[in-house]
Structure formats: structure tokens, C-alpha cells
């Protein structure tokens, strides 16, 4: 008996037992000794699969070998056949959900022997049982199994195109088993048809099982036809097929198959351990097969996906594609996201050659400008061609190619899995930056006097809004993927709100230029309301999550660098960005500082190259908390100021520079003769020295009178020569005129003696003059020398910034330091005239007109009007949050957002209607 077994063993009987050699040698080996063949290392041994280890050994079967043998020809009841078919549908959907074929489809043993299962091979002598017609298995079941395998084959081909990622989205391993690759789709359809015909003709299967089986065969046929169809060639047929499949699916659902009895031979048709016999290295995992209703739901989702693809295939609006892709990613329970659907949707958009099966690369860029700005690429091309001032032609070829690649990949990435999508977005930011710079260069070579209502002025904004939306997606998808630790959340919300703020500012500017009724304007307006709502949600969330924030800045710094590395995307950015090294240096220096606020401010903008200089005194002085929504405040202030003129605007010391110097004095300042440049600077200083405690109109008159009194020109020599009484006489309308006269004379002497008769160029020099403090000093430097070294803080600036809750400083110097610590440098020169004018008109100290003020509704914590349901963000940020009022505001936000979301699909449908 023993001999017999051995001679039957694989490899033949020329083997001799050497077990003892092992046992003896082991007894004599020292501890830790290894015997290895030459050239084989311990390292190599690590990669061996360990037999008997369930996680590695794909051949381990446990008790599976004890199962009774499976005979393919066992006759089965019609309901058992139904059950097997249903289960094969479930298994197929499990494969679509990302499991391996060996654990799903191939566990149906009929799938492995589909080719042998032919009616001609039916053995003789099977028991003649009227309830179990022997043809059921080779005709009906075989047709259904063949259909399933062919569907898997077609899906496999789609999935392996590279739009989705093997082993990440799906499993390509076939385990050396056939998916009927050699059988044509037509052939399989004929098989299915003849099975249906047999059921109808033979009448061997009673109803309801005949109907149930026919419905299942028809469903399979329809699915196969859809997968095989070309969506572009026969669009209507495609829709018909989808509807047919839906009808069959409905019938199938109304005829469910019962679970077979425990001893039924149908149960033997499934072996979850089949992978041990297939050439697969994946260890065995027994998958709990869910009930068949899950499968029908998945098939429904597939059909939805096809229907959506058909709609999209008719949609030539790239922004609609973008919207649909985003919508699919945004919804909390994303539908239609099987890898197959994601892959085939990408194939519909771009097949590697043409977009939507008919458009080339010029079309893509044309749509881009048309959908963003409402102008065609041709008109952009001609306009730039006619007005271009550089010798070299604009780099259109590069732009076109870059755009095509970027756009096709971007749209496709919307159908990637969420992690891939985020990673792609982060990588694409570098390319988007290149694109933005190219467009900026083009616009820089256009005439300077282009009004901002001209669309061509906003060419770079097209790339910028694209870029900002990608940054926003990167930040927000981090939440979706649960990447952030609780400490990071607050900053991420805040950053997202800042990115949206920049985006909104950009949209505001574009809306000025775009034709109001155009498609582009509608798109912009939609984006605007969506972003406003989204921003209104992120800010409260930021405020709410502030308590989670860590104050271990060193660790926070490391997190910043890791999370937002895409913002300063490595070395690749340096070639095309002249200012890049400097801004990188700036970020690094900011990161090294102990406070996150300036870094946050920089990151907030998203385009760092715009920031040229470090804000003053980041280290070494107390930095106040970063005010919420300061950009919004500034924007609205600007808007309010633009409506009416403030006394500060016309011909006053501060605005002098803007209004007059720009036109007339500027060229005098640049006059080659030094003396000619000095005088305007001196006049600026004089008028500034006269301005404290005085209304701007009065100062203006005083300067004019002084000019007359001094013989037509306020010059240093004239002041030095003039009698103090003459000066007093001229300026006696201004406040504290006696002191000011004294100061003027003394300052003039000091200028002559210490500063070579010119206005000093440093703040220290300025302050050393009698009657000049930091405020006048900074303003004079700005206006006389165009040096922005600091903010001139006067009563208005101090008061209004305090009202807005930007700081709590009592004196102007503290306020200045606080403001300078976070306000971007290029805004620092603007802030004084802006807020002074605001204080003179809308927000005077004794009677603020909150009713007219645009900041009163939400942004200004000191507003004296009933707040209209908009959240007081700064109050929130300061932690003085009244939970009830917050709840109501928050639900209001949610409502707003929901309305926006609800508008999404509507809009999408509306557009399609327009097309059709």
C-alpha cells in the first residue's frame, strides 16, 4: 500500500528518502547556523512564500479539500440555475468592486470549464427527470456563464487602458485562466439568443422560472451589447440599449431566485478556495458573498453611469465635464464610481487622440477661453497679434500644447480615485503656474493703458482661477480623505477660505469685463455664489476648530511644509520664476520664525511671487492674532470708498501723490537737476506737518496761502528766509499753528544743516525732525520717496482698525507694528488713504453711519445695526461665540450651501437642454 502511493507521486519513483539526513545534520549544527547554496543570501530567502502561513500560502485550503467532488453534468432545477446565475452576477460585481478574479468570478466552477460545457458533450445515461431537464446546464447556464465571462473580458480591456490603476482601483490578475478572449461578442450573443429560444420552444421549464431565466439571459445580452457599443456612432441606440437593460433588470428583480437547500448540488458549483489551484500568488481570501440585491444595485449604478456617459458624450462644454466630475467627488456617498465607469467615462472624453471623438487641440483651448471669458481663441490670437509689442512672437504653440495636455489630464483626473485625484492636482499646480506665467508675460507685452473692462486684460486670470480652484480642491479633499490631524484642521479651513477669497477677488475683476449675458458670465456668477457659500462655511468651521489648534509651532511648521509643499513646488519652479528663489527664501525664513501668522498670510495668497518683501519685524515684536476676513473687509471698504469722494481724495497731502505727482510732479522728481526734485518732496513734508489735528480742506488752503506768502513757491530757502510771523499768518487756520510755525522753521534749519537741504530718506532721519512723529514720517517717506517702510497710523486708521477688531492697541505705534506684522507689503501704502477716507465719510468717530456701511452686515464686529443672520466671524474668531446665535447662523449657511448644491444638477440639465 505504501509502495503504491509513492510510485503514484508526481516526479516518478526515482526518489530516495533523505529525511534522516536533515534530522542528523540539524542535531550537529551550531546555534544560528545556516546552510545556503552559493550565491544565495539570507536576503534572498526573505522573499520566499511560507507554506502553511495563511497570509502567504495561496495553496492552503484548510478544510476545502474535504468537499465532495463537483460533477459538471449534474442536472439541476430551474430555480437552482437561477440562483447560480444570480450569484455569478454578484461575483462579477464583487470583481468590479476591486477584488481579484480568483476570489470572485472564478469561484464559480462553471466559469473555469465554460468551453467544455457544450450540449454536444452531454454524456449519455443521465437520469430522465422532468423537473431537471439535462439541457438546462449546457444550454442556459453555459450561455449565461459565457456572457458573464465575455463581459468581464470587455471590462478587463477597458480597465487595462491605464485610466485607472491596476491593484489600486482594480485587480488585473487572471490567474492564467481564460475570460473567453478568443470568442467574439457576436458569438456569445448568438449563444444567449439560442438559449432563450430553447427555453421558449422546448417548454420543458415551467413558468415562472422560464420568465426568470429569460429575463436574466436578456439582461446579460443587453449588458454585453452596451459594453461593446460605440457611444459616439450610435448615440440613440446606446440609450435604447440602456433602457432595455433597465427593463430586464426590473423583471429580474420581480422574479427573485430562492436560496437552494443546504444539500443541493448547486452549492457545489462554488468553491471559494479555487485560487489554490490557479496560477495566482495572491493568498486566498474567502469573500462573504452579499445578497443578490446588492448586485442589482451595482448594475443599476453601472446603467446610470452609462446614461451619464451618453449625456456627457453629447456635451461639448468642458466646464460641464468639470462640474460633473467634481460633483461626483463632492457628494458624501459618491454614486457611479465603479472603476469601470470611471475608466470608460475618461475614454469617452479623451481616447488618446481626439477629445470627444472629434475635437483637436485648438478646439480645447478655444473652448477654454470661450467658457472662461466669452471670447474665442481666434479673437484672443488676433488681438494679441495686433497689439503685441515684443520682438519675439507670443509663445502660442507652447501654450496650446501645454493647455491640451493639462486640460485632458485634468478632466480625466476628476474620475480618478480620490487619493490619485488629489495627488494629480498637487502635481499639476506646477504646470498651472507655468501656464499662468506665460499668459502674464503675454499681457505684459500688451499696451499698458488697456482698461480693466477689456477682456484681454484678464487672460492670466483664466489660468489663475483654474489654479485657485485646484488649490481649493487639494485642501478640501484633504478633509474628505481624513488626512489632517485635529491640529491641522483649523489652519486648513482658514487656508481654504483665503484661497476662495483670492478666487472671489479674481472673479469680481473678471465679471467687470465679461459680457453680462454670456455663458461665461453665467458660469462666473455661479462660481461666485458657490464660492461665497463655501467660504461662508469654512470660516465658521475655522473658528470652531481654533481650540484644536496646537501651539507647538515647531511641529506646526513641519506640518505646514509637508502639507503645503505643492505651494512652493520644489526645484521645478525655479527656472521659469524669476522671483522664485527669493520667495522660497522668504517662506523658509517665515517658517523659521516662531509665529505662524505671517506664513499663513503668505500661503493664503497662493501666489507667493506677488509678495516681494518681508513684513517688518516678524521677530522680536508682539504679533497680534490674524484677523478673520481682513481681505473681505478691505474689499468692501474699497467698494464703499469708490462710491463717494472723501475729503482726503482731492488735492490733499496724502492724495497729492496719487493725483498730481503721478502726472506732473513725478517727472519733476526724476528731473536730472537735483534741486528740481527737492522741492516737491519738501512741499509734501510741509503739508504733512501741517495736517495733524486739522481737516484736510483746511490744510489744503493753508498750503496754498503759504505758497502765496512765500512768493509763489514753498521751498526750503523761502521758509528759511521767511519771517515766522509771515508763516503764522499764512497757516493760522490749522490747529496748533503756533507750534507748527516753530516746528517748520526748526525743521527747515535741520534739513539744511544735517540733510543737505533735502528730505531725509530714512525713518530715523524723519523722526529726528522737530514736529515729525512716526505717522508723518512714514507717510512722508511714502509720498516723497515712494518708500513703503511702514504704515502711517493716524486717528482714523487707529480707530477703524480697532473697530474692525484687527488689534487692541491703544497708541498708533503699537497699532502700526501689529498691522505691519500681517498686512501684505503691497497693501500697506494703500491702507492709510483708504481708511482715512472711510473714516471721513462713512465711519466718523462720533456718528458712524452703519446703515450705509457694507461692512456692517457681518464683517464689522462694532457695527450698530441688527445683524442680518450673517455670522459675525471676527467675534467667533475671538472666541466670544454665543452658541445659539451661532447655531442659527450656521444653519443659515448650510441652507445657502444646499441651495447652491441643488442648483448644480439643474444647471447641468439646463445646459444639455440648450444643446439639444
Amino acid at each position: 500500500m505504501e509502495m503504491l502511493t509513492i510510485s503514484d507521486l508526481p516526479g516518478g519513483d526515482n526518489f530516495q528518502d533523505v529525511t534522516n539526513i536533515f534530522v542528523e545534520a540539524a542535531a550537529e549544527m551550531g546555534p544560528g547556523d545556516l546552510i545556503l547554496r552559493e550565491g544565495f543570501t539570507l536576503q534572498d530567502a526573505m522573499s520566499a512564500f511560507e507554506i502553511g502561513e495563511p497570509r502567504l500560502d495561496s495553496g492552503m485550503a484548510g478544510d476545502a479539500d474535504q468537499r465532495p467532488p463537483f460533477d459538471i453534468w449534474t442536472p439541476l432545477l430551474p430555480e437552482e440555475i437561477c440562483w447560480i446565475i444570480d450569484r455569478s452576477f454578484t461575483l462579477e460585481m464583487l470583481w468590479h468592486a476591486g477584488n481579484t478574479l480568483a476570489h470572485t468570478v472564478f469561484t464559480c466552477l462553471y466559469a473555469l470549464i465554460a468551453s467544455e460545457l457544450h450540449p454536444d458533450m452531454l454524456p449519455y445515461g443521465l437520469p430522465n427527470d422532468a423537473q431537471r431537464p439535462p439541457q438546462l446546464v449546457p444550454v442556459v447556464l453555459r450561455a449565461s456563464i459565457c456572457g458573464m465571462l465575455k463581459c468581464c473580458d470587455l471590462s478587463w480591456r477597458e480597465l487595462s487602458k491605464g485610466h485607472v490603476h491596476d491593484t489600486e482601483d482594480w485587480q488585473s490578475d487572471k490567474g492564467d485562466t481564460s475570460l473567453l478572449e478568443g470568442m467574439s461578442v457576436q458569438n456569445v450573443i448568438v449563444t444567449l439568443d439560442s438559449a432563450t429560444a430553447w427555453l421558449v420552444r422546448s417548454r420543458k421549464v415551467p413558468d415562472p422560472w422560464a420568465t426568470a431565466l429569460i429575463a436574466r439571459l436578456n439582461l446579460r445580452k443587453a449588458l454585453l451589447q452596451i459594453m461593446d457599443a460605440n457611444i459616439f456612432k450610435a448615440s440613440t441606440d446606446f440609450l435604447t440599449l440602456v433602457n432595455v437593460a433597465r427593463n430586464h433588470l426590473h423583471t429580474v428583480r420581480t422574479y427573485p431566485s430562492p436560496e437552494p437547500a443546504a444539500e443541493s448540488p448547486a452549492r457545489l458549483a462554488f468553491d471559494p478556495y479555487i485560487a489554490r489551484k490557479l496560477n495566482s500568488t495572491v493568498p486566498i481570501r474567502v469573500i462573504d458573498v452579499p445578497s443578490v440585491t446588492e448586485a442589482w444595485r451595482s448594475i443599476d449604478a453601472l446603467l446610470d453611469g452609462w446614461e451619464e456617459q451618453r449625456l456627457l458624450s453629447l456635451t461639448a462644454n468642458v466646464s460641464t465635464w468639470e462640474l460633473v466630475g467634481n460633483l461626483r467627488a463632492w457628494l458624501p456617498i459618491p454614486p457611479l464610481r465603479t472603476p469601470y465607469t470611471r475608466s470608460s467615462t475618461q475614454s469617452v472624453f479623451y481616447d488618446g487622440l481626439l477629445v470627444l471623438n472629434k475635437f483637436n487641440l485648438t478646439w480645447v483651448i478655444d473652448r477654454f477661453f470661450f467658457e472662461t471669458l466669452g471670447v474665442s481663441y481666434q479673437s484672443v490670437y488676433h488681438f494679441v497679434g495686433q497689439n503685441y509689442r515684443s520682438q519675439r512672437p507670443p509663445p502660442w504653440a507652447d501654450i496650446q500644447r501645454g493647455h491640451f495636455k493639462l486640460m485632458t489630464e485634468y478632466i480625466r483626473a476628476l474620475w480618478y480615485n480620490p487619493c490619485r485625484r488629489r495627488r494629480f492636482f498637487m502635481k499639476s499646480l506646477v504646470d498651472l503656474h507655468i501656464y499662468y506665467t506665460r499668459l502674464t508675460e503675454i499681457v505684459a507685452n500688451l499696451p499698458e493703458n488697456l482698461p480693466s473692462t477689456n477682456v484681454m486684460k484678464h487672460l492670466p486670470a483664466c489660468a489663475l482661477v483654474w489654479r485657485l480652484s485646484v488649490i481649493r480642491e487639494v485642501v478640501l479633499s484633504g478633509f474628505q480623505l481624513e488626512l489632517y490631524t485635529s491640529e491641522e484642521k483649523s489652519f486648513a479651513y482658514w487656508y481654504a477660505s483665503q484661497v476662495m477669497d483670492a478666487h472671489l477677488a479674481c472673479l469680481d475683476a473678471m465679471l467687470l469685463a465679461v459680457e453680462p449675458d454670456s455663458l461665461a458670465a453665467r458660469e462666473l456668477r455661479f462660481q461666485h455664489s458657490l464660492l461665497s457659500a463655501l467660504q461662508a462655511m469654512t470660516i465658521p468651521l475655522f473658528a470652531l476648530s481654533i481650540p484644536l489648534m496646537s501651539f507647538a509651532w515647531r511641529q506646526m511648521h513641519a506640518n505646514f511644509v509637508r502639507r503645503y509643499k505643492h505651494v512652493w513646488a520644489g526645484d521645478a519652479g525655479q527656472d521659469f520664476l524669476p522671483r522664485r528663489p527669493r520667495s522660497t527664501w522668504r517662506i523658509q525664513s517665515l517658517c523659521n520664525s516662531s509665529n505662524p501668522a505671517p506664513l499663513a498670510a503668505t500661503l493664503a495668497c497662493g501666489r507667493m511671487s506677488a509678495y516681494k518683501t518681508l513684513p517688518m519685524r516678524v521677530n522680536g515684536c508682539k504679533i497680534h492674532s490674524y484677523p478673520a476676513q481682513w481681505r473681505g473687509c478691505l474689499r468692501l471698504t474699497r467698494a464703499s470708498r469708490a462710491v463717494s469722494r472723501a475729503p482726503v481724495d482731492p488735492r490733499t497731502p496724502h492724495r497729492n501723490r496719487r493725483q498730481c505727482i503721478k502726472k506732473r510732479w513725478l517727472h519733476r522728481m526724476q528731473h536730472p537737476h537735483v534741486g528740481a526734485r527737492r522741492n516737491p518732496r519738501f512741499v509734501t513734508l510741509v503739508s504733512l506737518m501741517l495736517s495733524p489735528q486739522t481737516k484736510d480742506q483746511v490744510t489744503d488752503t493753508a498750503v496754498c496761502k503759504l505758497r502765496e506768502a512765500l512768493g509763489g513757491s514753498v521751498s526750503l530757502d523761502a521758509v528759511l528766509a521767511a519771517d515766522p510771523a509771515v508763516i503764522s499768518e499764512a497757516i493760522n487756520k490749522v490747529g496748533m499753528w503756533r507750534v507748527k510755525t516753530k516746528h517748520l522753521k526748526a525743521a527747515a534749519e535741520k534739513l539744511r544743516d544735517d540733510f543737505e537741504s533735502d528730505v531725509p530718506k530714512t525713518i530715523e532721519g524723519m523722526i529726528s525732525l522737530p514736529g515729525v512723529g512716526p505717522k508723518i514720517g512714514f507717510l512722508a517717506l511714502q509720498n516723497a520717496w515712494n518708500l513703503n517702510v511702514g504704515i502711517g497710523v493716524d486717528v482714523h486708521v487707529l480707530r477703524i482698525t480697532r473697530l474692525l477688531g484687527w488689534h487692541k492697541a491703544e497708541n498708533p505705534e503699537d497699532a502700526r507694528i501689529s498691522l505691519e506684522s500681517w498686512l501684505p507689503a503691497e497693501l500697506q501704502s494703500e491702507i492709510n488713504p483708504l481708511l482715512v477716507g472711510f473714516g471721513q465719510t462713512i465711519c466718523p468717530a462720533n456718528s458712524p453711519r452703519c446703515g450705509e456701511c457694507k461692512l456692517a452686515s457681518g464683517l464689522c464686529p462694532s457695527a450698530k445695526v441688527p445683524k442680518k443672520s450673517v455670522l459675525d466671524c471676527s467675534a467667533l474668531a475671538r472666541g466670544t461665540l454665543n452658541s445659539r446665535s451661532f447655531q442659527s447662523s450656521y444653519s443659515d449657511m448650510k441652507l445657502k450651501f444646499r441651495t447652491c448644491c441643488a442648483a448644480l444638477p439643474m444647471r447641468y440639465i439646463e445646459r444639455d437642454r440648450i444643446r439639444e
Binding site: F15, T19, A26, P31, D33, E38, D44
Partner: protein, 102 residues
């Protein structure tokens, strides 16, 4: 110089071994090495099962490690009476005390 028993074991290196294991499977592969607990490393291994429905050509499983507790018996292919020439380019090496060293 190691003991004769270890030398005999080293003589088996690079030979085709047939290992039967507890769950009835049979592995045939080229012997690559072992250690004191007698975990057996085989290269280019095929896995066979006995039974009417099983594939007589086996299943390729590549490089495997079979723990001694599963091993029922080990056989050496002896159909080549003289294997001296093959042994020449396949000297066994004993790495002494490697575990202690690392």
C-alpha cells in the same frame, strides 16, 4: 570543517527535492538552504495535489519556505547516478552564527 552529517546535507544543495507536507500537497523544487529549525527553502517549485480532478502538471509556486512542522518526508531525486559534475559549481557555504552576529 563541519561534521560529516552537515557535509551530507550540503551535498543535497542544488538537488531536486520532493517534499510531502501535512495537508497532502507535494512540492518539487531545487534545494536552496535550511537552518537549524529545518525550515526548507526550495526554488522553482511546483506544487502538486493528489486526486482525480487535480491538475497532473501541478502549479508553479516559485520560491517557497516549508516549515519543518509541516514536513512529512523529504526525497532526493536519484535518477542521476553521478552528479559530481553538477556539484562542482554549487558549493555549499555554511554561515556560522549568523543569527548571533546580527
Amino acid at each position: 570543517m563541519s561534521s560529516p552529517a552537515v557535509e551530507r546535507l550540503k551535498g543535497l544543495l542544488c538537488q531536486n527535492l520532493r517534499v510531502t507536507v501535512a495537508d497532502g500537497r507535494i512540492f518539487i523544487g531545487s534545494f536552496a538552504g535550511t537552518d537549524v529549525p529545518l525550515n526548507i527553502l526550495l526554488l522553482n517549485t511546483d506544487e502538486f495535489r493528489l486526486g482525480p480532478n487535480e491538475n497532473p502538471d501541478g502549479r508553479y509556486v516559485g520560491q517557497v519556505l516549508i516549515p519543518w512542522k509541516l514536513v512529512m518526508a523529504i526525497y532526493e531525486a536519484s535518477h542521476m547516478p553521478h552528479r559530481a559534475s553538477k556539484k562542482a559549481d554549487c558549493h555549499g557555504v555554511v554561515v556560522s552564527g549568523l543569527r548571533n552576529a546580527t
